[in-house]
């Protein structure tokens, strides 16, 4: 299918880049036009990603809508894009959250607008490219393209310690990605190609010992991005200092790039090493679940609390991947989407308060529910979604992960379940301290409830939270086959036992 003469996947990848050029071409003084253009572009981009659905065959586990062009012939690198159910959901999540993030920036960002929206649009191209690229070199290029705009988003529009947070984010992730680059090179030396589809088709040609080394190189790249314990220390700084839209994209999409990397590359391309290191991954994931939750409990800053809760939630995702059962992996994929929706929304919720009061300290608030009823309702729904209340999206994902992990190890499941309890603890306690009680601070007396624009920003997230919570079938149908395909490669014994 073509859009304006371009194949659809190429179009959705580079449409935001075109938007960036348009935004840059607008005169800097026309701030309204710049905002409008950026919102239109991210909105149209979301619509364009929805268009993929019309040509997507959910009953297939194979890569679809493949676009293949020679890129650097001498290296065997290709311009190779393709989509399966896993990428599809993540691309939709990306375009939705970027749209939401631009919408939320309307009033929040006032300085250097042109650069701000240009960076967001550039970021979107990078993120969409990461989820669609099937050539490892192309994937690496998109992966790195993401770093630069995020560095500037944190560094220019961030909070007090933005300079420190920006360079820490950049250094940490670059360190991981150069390790991944070496892994890609070694992989290529054995496959003589960067083509993911060809590598999967070729099967396990790499000796197990070497797979281990490549796995570790990939691990550094992906684990820092997720972030897995003990590589998570960049995350609280980056999330807290980033502007609201930056935090939404960072938590909602960028972290998923790490878990997506594990699922797309480490698992099917390095099956022997994955099986060998899966228990280690699972244990690191469990540490993250519990540690992230405990640290969240004692935060005084709302944004920091949500940042640490991401460490815990991404721990669930990684546990699901490490369990290597179809159910757990499917749960992990769904949980990536869930976390993107609910945590993205929670960062927006904090952003709403920050815009009004310029504070994120929990102690500054209290009793807001009486002044901001609509806000209170949205906050409550998102809190419950994050905890995993049945009927909302978080429950489905976490439940699938736990159920899929149980046959592998009841102990892992038990430890992970404590994370849910702790999660309920810190989230409900946060909600109680901010929304209930008496208004202590006089400035909170006159707080305004959500405006129409703000409510519209939350609306798609609310719809999806309920939709996935009540009727997740369409989402699960899409990822069913591709996940099974990957698990069959990495953990074939699982299927033998059942037969």
């Amino acid at each position: 299918m073509n859009v304006f003469g371009l194949p659809i996947l190429t179009f959705v990848t580079f449409f935001p880049l075109a938007g960036m050029l348009v935004v840059l071409a607008l005169p800097g003084s026309r701030s309204r036009a710049i905002k409008l253009a950026a919102n239109i572009f991210t909105g149209l981009e979301f619509a364009a990603t929805l268009l993929i659905l019309t040509r997507f065959d959910a009953s297939s586990g194979e890569m679809q809508l493949i676009e293949r062009l020679p890129w650097i012939k001498s290296l065997g690198a290709q311009y190779l894009l393709g989509v399966d159910g896993i990428s599809l959901l993540l691309v939709l999540l990306t375009s939705l959250l970027t749209f939401v993030a631009t919408l939320s920036s309307w009033g929040a960002v006032t300085s250097r607008l042109k650069e701000y929206y240009a960076f967001i649009l550039l970021l979107e191209t990078g993120m969409v490219g990461v989820f669609l690229a099937l050539d490892l070199l192309l994937f690496y290029v998109f992966w790195e393209v993401v770093l630069v705009p995020m560095y500037f988003l944190i560094g220019i529009w961030g909070g007090e310690r933005r300079l420190y947070a920006a360079i820490k984010f950049f250094l940490y992730t670059l360190f991981g990605s150069v390790a991944m680059l070496v892994g890609i090179l070694v992989l290529r030396a054995h496959h003589h190609s960067f083509d993911w589809t060809a590598m999967v088709a070729a099967g396990p040609v790499i000796p197990a010992a070497l797979q281990g080394w490549i796995f570790l190189a990939f691990f550094l790249g992906f684990a820092i991005k997720v972030p897995m314990f003990p590589f998570h220390t960049w995350l609280p700084d980056a999330h807290v200092e980033a502007p609201t839209a930056g935090s939404v994209i960072l938590a909602g999409v960028l972290l998923k790039m790490g878990s997506y990397g594990f699922l797309r590359f480490s698992l099917p391309l390095l099956p022997a090493a994955t099986r060998r290191y899966a228990p280690a991954l699972a244990i690191l994931a469990l540490v993250a679940i519990v540690y992230g939750a405990l640290v969240s409990l004692m935060q005084k800053d709302m944004k920091k609390l949500i940042a640490y809760s991401s460490v815990s939630h991404m721990g669930f995702v990684m546990l699901g991947l490490a369990a290597l059962t179809p159910l757990a992996v499917k749960g992990a994929v769904l949980q990536m989407i869930n976390h993107g929706l609910s945590t993205g929304a929670l960062f927006l919720i904090v952003g709403v308060l920050y815009e009004r009061r310029h504070s994120r300290l929990i102690a500054e608030f209290g009793g807001l529910s009486s002044r901001m009823p609509v806000y209170a309702a949205v906050f409550l729904i998102m809190t419950l979604a994050s905890i995993g209340l049945p009927g909302l999206n978080g429950f489905i994902g976490e439940f699938m992960i736990l159920m899929g992990t149980f046959p592998v190890s009841w102990l892992w499941t038990a430890v992970a379940a404590t994370g849910i309890v702790l999660g309920a603890g810190y989230m409900l306690w946060l909600y109680q301290r901010v929304m209930f009680g008496k208004i202590v601070h006089p400035a909170n007396e006159s707080l305004k409830d959500l405006t129409i624009r703000e409510f519209v920003t939350f609306l798609p997230l609310l719809v999806l939270v309920f939709w996935i919570g009540v009727f997740p079938k369409p989402f699960l149908d899409v990822i069913d086959k591709p996940v099974e395909k990957i698990v069959r490669i990495v953990n074939p014994t699982h299927f033998e036992v059942r037969r």
Binding site: S74, L75, E144
Partner: protein, 485 residues
Amino acid sequence: MIVPAGYSLRPLAPELALFAAAVTALLVHLFLGKRGRRASGYVALAGTGAAGLVLALTPPSAEALFGGNFVVDPFALYFKSAILLAGAMAMVLAFRFFDIEGSEAGETYPLMLLAMIGMTAAVSATDVITTYVAFELFAIPSYLLAGIFKKERRSAEAGIKYFFLGTLSSAIMLLGLALVFGLTGSTAYAEAGPALGGSEGRAVLVAMGLVFAGLFFKAAFVPFHMWAPDVYEGAPTPLVIFLSTAPKAAVVALLVRAMTSLFGAYREEWSLVLQGVALATMFWGNLAALTQNSLKRMLGYSAIAQAGYIAIGLASWGEAGRTAVLFYVVAYIVMNAAAFGLVLLVDRGGRFDESIDGLRGLARRAPAGAVGILVVLLSLTGIPPTAGFMGKYLLFTAAVEKGLTLLAVAGALNSAISLFYYFRIGKAMFLEGIASAAPEAGSQTQENISRPVSVFLAVSAAALLLFGLLPALLTNPAVSAFLSR
């Protein structure tokens, strides 16, 4: 007169064009008085362009000319073009430098041309004696160029330092070349090379070590780099661009010829040496750059570190390695020239500010130049989609293919380290305001942002992006540089 085969002057046309330009520039400088200074610069730039044109028309051939002294193969032509590119970039920026600093020395331009003749001849040399003569021909003008800015004490100091250490290293190299002759009884690579392969190993290794030491010195490979930071800091910026790019390209070509023609039988040994040099150069350059506060000194260490990446490709010489080296040499020239070009972007009160703090908030005042320099920094760090990434990628691939995976890991680690100091520049320009610097900037000194330098940076950035996205533009000539050999 009938010229015997192999003795026609036609293959020397680029060198002759440079020589004619050098003489003309010198005469213009002599007879036009004060105006002649700049005029000699224009003559030199035009001469470099003419030499480039002649170069493009010179047919490559593997034939040994002048009794086996000289060869104009595609490999030599590739490096000659790179050297002319470096020279032209440096000259353009020299105009800007002397516009602001004054005290323009008209002999700068003829000296640059003479050095370029030496370099372009050196990359063609296939004889021990020609090699040495060409080597000295570019070494001696280099010493003068480093010290040419007599107004500045640091420049004179740089010139002296470079001269003493440089002559020492030339002498060491000469000793090595003499040993080659002594061992083989021949000065031509074509005869000496095979003879060395059959002669007593230890003496050959000594000869190789001495020759390499001289070359490593000129390329500022660690541990022969001590002169470089001082010279790069002290010499006038456009000449630093010249001295940190063109001679390195020439030395890489000389090294390649020495490795493959003279010491081809000792591959294991020189690969080991170059692996060590690559590691030492990358780590030393990058770690030392971390601690610098002067922009020029930091970029000086960066130039050292960048040469270390090239050494990775030399150590893993082969089909992949040579493409990578040739690619990276050109990428390096553009990146390095643009990075030092940043120093010339802003002048305050007739001086260039060489501190990193002086760049604060520049992104708002010079957006085009700032975006350009951002791409250059990404390229230096090795982040896609830039030429620097593609070059590093090619180098690391070459290392992995030769089984030197650890060298690739070290290279990758170094690019992560280098991010920290490269983005001190990015941070100062984009993230930091001029809040603290504003009062003094406003009241005492007038800040000027040079439009030509902005354009220069933007064009360099565009080239780096182009080579990064379509590396075939450079790898195709690089690959064909070896077809006839």
